[in-house]
Symmetry: D2
Subunit: 320 residues, 4 copies
């Protein structure tokens, strides 16, 4: 399991009530230095923006710390210009800028040795009824995605779905819609990023989402975190759920996932590095539990489909 | 707008606490007779089970009351035999029975003059982690669907998605997954039924779901009701939401939807016929408001994408 | 920790789709015999209805199996007569019947050696706007509760709150409302039953609910289960959540809770006895983890309020 | 119906993704000038912070525009210092500062001619398990509230409950908890602010919450907005729901509410003034519909408790 952390998780982290952020930001080089100290972490998911957007400098900082670039997380949802949409913005000029930034991000990823960009189109959606041409929204987005994918076919484009936030409704809202887009793009290098919290708060199961994408060769990237079930809480991995993560790790092996798992948390009031460290440690723990329980035993669980039996197996193997 | 009512809405209606039902059932013939009295209703969505499953008798009852059969609602989720799945049941024998019942339902629909069967695979899903082979679940379901579709290519097969209930997680959980299946089936006569409540409680927008399916020629059927937003409340249309219905009626025209809108409510404590009557009256009201506001004005709303403007237009045109 | 199981968890278990139930019921005596075999179980929570309602017979069956009666679960939500309300039914005759049944249940509990009745007023609520006099609903309910409490002051009346289901909105919807009622009743023997799943799917924390009630001497009873976060899933304890249960067990000790924890699950498709067995085993596990981690260490966690630190402590102490 | 707007609704409005805000802020004096132009608006709910915190200047701006101060909205949730709590912050110094600011706000309200301060303790809550001493949190908060209430007994202290955000779990989470606190404070001038969106996304009914508080003389303030049902969307009033607002306006009359209804929306991408204008217009519309339908007719609806009948009455009286 190749694990990295999104640098965005380590920033100032504000929200709509505390715009100044819950803490001070720290310089990128310092973030990387601190991440390098985390057991089990071998990469960093960077943004193509600001200081991080400088390929040479970023490459040097990463290599100085013995870390790979796992992925470039395209910055098209977190600036005012994209407040009403990016890849499907009704304003052609803004849409063009978003496309161009994604293309540049693909080249930038290649320079950093990553083979995937993560496209989270958080602002491509809508808030109120009668304010959106849904067909156009979808088609514009798809057309933009194809253009990005064709710009650099060596780089995979991972669409990160999410039901809502910051829009009340997202265009790319769940695994089904993301896969539909990937297929309708007709491009081999368009696929999906599964953020497990985005699955959970959509009343769905993360292992199922992963298998749905992975069995079509479309699981390009993973974001890990935890949540209470009704919102994208972006909590430390393992702070709420338990067995579902074991299942996730099992299915990641089953589908032969060779990509990265990037910690995507929002530790506004927590120590960010320690929160990332624990998230990575918990993912390793869950993955190690797959071995402790054993693949054959897990397959037997699934074959039986008997929840009480599953609970007993977990209890005896993990806590016995 | 062609409107019908699902006969299941008019039954005894129990739940997990009151299994005996909140009221007595009434005979099918009596249900149809009472429905015939509802202004704006021209059809009935029947089941292929029990007394309703007798084509000759059912056809006569419908024609005696001047009503069409809008759709046959396949009964593969509401009997104990299907309690752990129907079209994707791990037990090949049960799966076979479910497939055969759906095929028979297609022929039965044809006898009744309907061109669509509604397949709600409520029991095809899972409840706990590590109890389900997700890939197999999907593939088995798809294979079953293809077999049903091929049995009678004149009859459309509408897959009704729903995020959950009665399983904690449904296989066909949202519009994206349903469309993915329709496309992967490779069959022209596999499409989607959009139940608006199923969209709403999945943090999504019903008009968007309708346009996503309709613009691909895959909107085969509609179920109408209302809900509070976090569960499949199956309430009377218009008892909670307002503007979203106007948008829905507008988009149904935009995509040229020529199918049926079937009232699918669960009036366990209410008068079922009066609840159906109001649901139909409200759908007509919302549809008439499209005219009152005017297509050009609605297009201008969407073009502007300005929620305050939309609210003003609605207020002045509808309540002014 | 005194643990019991609600007999209702072991029945036929249907839902609004499969009214015939997902399996056959088994006789009460057989249920008790099977429960007696579960490690860590020392009681049974019975209903005051049907065969269970016969004090002599029930007492003998329990004692023959070496089990106590933990609580009597009043049956005022699961029969058609109470479909539109019980203790606050607008029909005075039905309301009277519900009150009298609760009084009888209190006496019956005393005969069985229990000191608490559990009142879950599932049908006392409402579904639609403009259909309920909220003030009257509350006052009628409170008046009924006082009458029940005064009938047998030796028996504690535990009000079980729940946000919704089977009504779209419950009157006694959360811990705050239940405590308000307990205080406004002015009766020492009116308190609260905390069903942990009811807390979770109300966007709340179960340990907090328990401490809120317990610190006022009002935690009279507990129901245990697990859920995915958006509905009352009544799943096997420990099948979803993890750390929250450790916290719950810690707080139960902190407040000196001396009452029962009754397993309240809904294993419609699962083996009910095995599901109960695992629920009890998991509660014991979580309680034993309090010892393994240590009270002092847990207090240090809480004192620090540092989530990353907490995660590390749990990881090292539980899985290290 | 006395209506005002919270000035916070008119600001730069960012969120955790766009911290710079979706638009530029405008000066306070300009906000008030624009609000003065809204039909049906007679007051402004101000903050006790920044430029608004200057009593003389603010009073002049309001009177120059013919507007009253409806309420002072205490600013204890929107600055970094309060990021881990205000009135129940574990740090006694921060807690002291929060208390003192609330006391000053009470005096400031009096200077402006308002008789209520709105205390939304958004940061008093918790995020993760095992990070909070729940009993202490509640008691500290209550003690702070009492001190504030006693500082200026002429000023009412309205506690605004909310299930979550910005904390994963709020201390004052729903109407029941808020009322419990008001009663346990033992102070006449401690009551509740009902934000209707906070009720809705807690699976509850706004009219019920209003009546619960109002019938105890504890409804001190109201915040109006709309939401989709699963989050605090802070949308324009009437943009989603319909009948529930009519019921709300009816119950506000029934309990004789003489306080203010303040528009509390979050129009980050919308024109803020137009959004406020429509919110106020819709509240007036809903209130006028109470007259059009008639109190006697509404009482008959409630007496019958028949949802289909209610729907028919609304349809005929409002749209007929």
């Amino acid at each position: 399991m190749k694990q990295s952390v999104i640098t965005g998780s380590l920033g100032s982290l504000g929200d709509r009530f505390i715009l100044e952020g819950y803490k001070d930001d720290i310089p990128f080089v310092e973030k990387v230095r601190q991440l390098a100290d985390i057991d089990g972490l071998s990469g960093v998911e960077v943004s193509n923006f600001g200081i991080e957007g400088n390929a040479k400098e970023t490459a040097k900082i990463l290599s100085d710390n013995g870390l790979a670039c796992s992925c470039v997380n395209v910055n098209i949802a977190c600036r005012r210009i994209y407040g009403r949409g990016a890849l499907a913005n009704a304003d052609a000029k803004i849409r063009r800028q978003a496309i161009d930034e994604c293309k540049a991000a693909a080249d930038y990823a290649q320079e950093l040795g990553a083979d995937v960009i993560n496209v989270w189109p958080g602002q491509d959606g809508y808030d109120y009824a009668l304010c959106c041409d849904y067909g156009k929204l979808y088609n514009d987005f798809l057309e933009s995605t194809v253009e990005i994918a064709d710009h650099n076919p060596d780089i995979k484009v991972a669409l990160e779905f999410k039901p809502r936030e910051p829009r009340n409704r997202s265009l790319v809202d769940n695994a089904g819609t993301a896969l539909l887009m990937a297929l309708e793009s007709g491009r081999k290098n368009v696929g999906v990023c599964v953020d497990v919290g985005h699955v959970l708060y959509n009343n769905a199961n993360m292992a199922n989402a992963v298998e749905l994408c992975g069995s079509r060769g479309k699981l390009f990237h993973m974001h890990t975190n935890d949540c209470l079930g009704t919102w994208d809480d972006d909590m430390i991995v393992g702070s709420v759920r338990f067995i579902e993560y074991i299942e996730l790790c099992y299915v990641l092996r089953k589908i032969g996932y060779a990509g990265w798992c990037s910690v995507d948390i929002f530790p506004s009031r927590e120590n960010a590095i320690e929160s990332a460290r624990e998230s990575i440690a918990y993912m390793r723990l869950f993955d190690s539990l797959v071995d402790r329980i054993g693949i054959a035993q897990l397959e037997e669980c699934i074959r039986r489909g008997d929840a009480a039996y599953v609970q007993r197996v977990i209890r005896e193997k993990v806590f016995g």
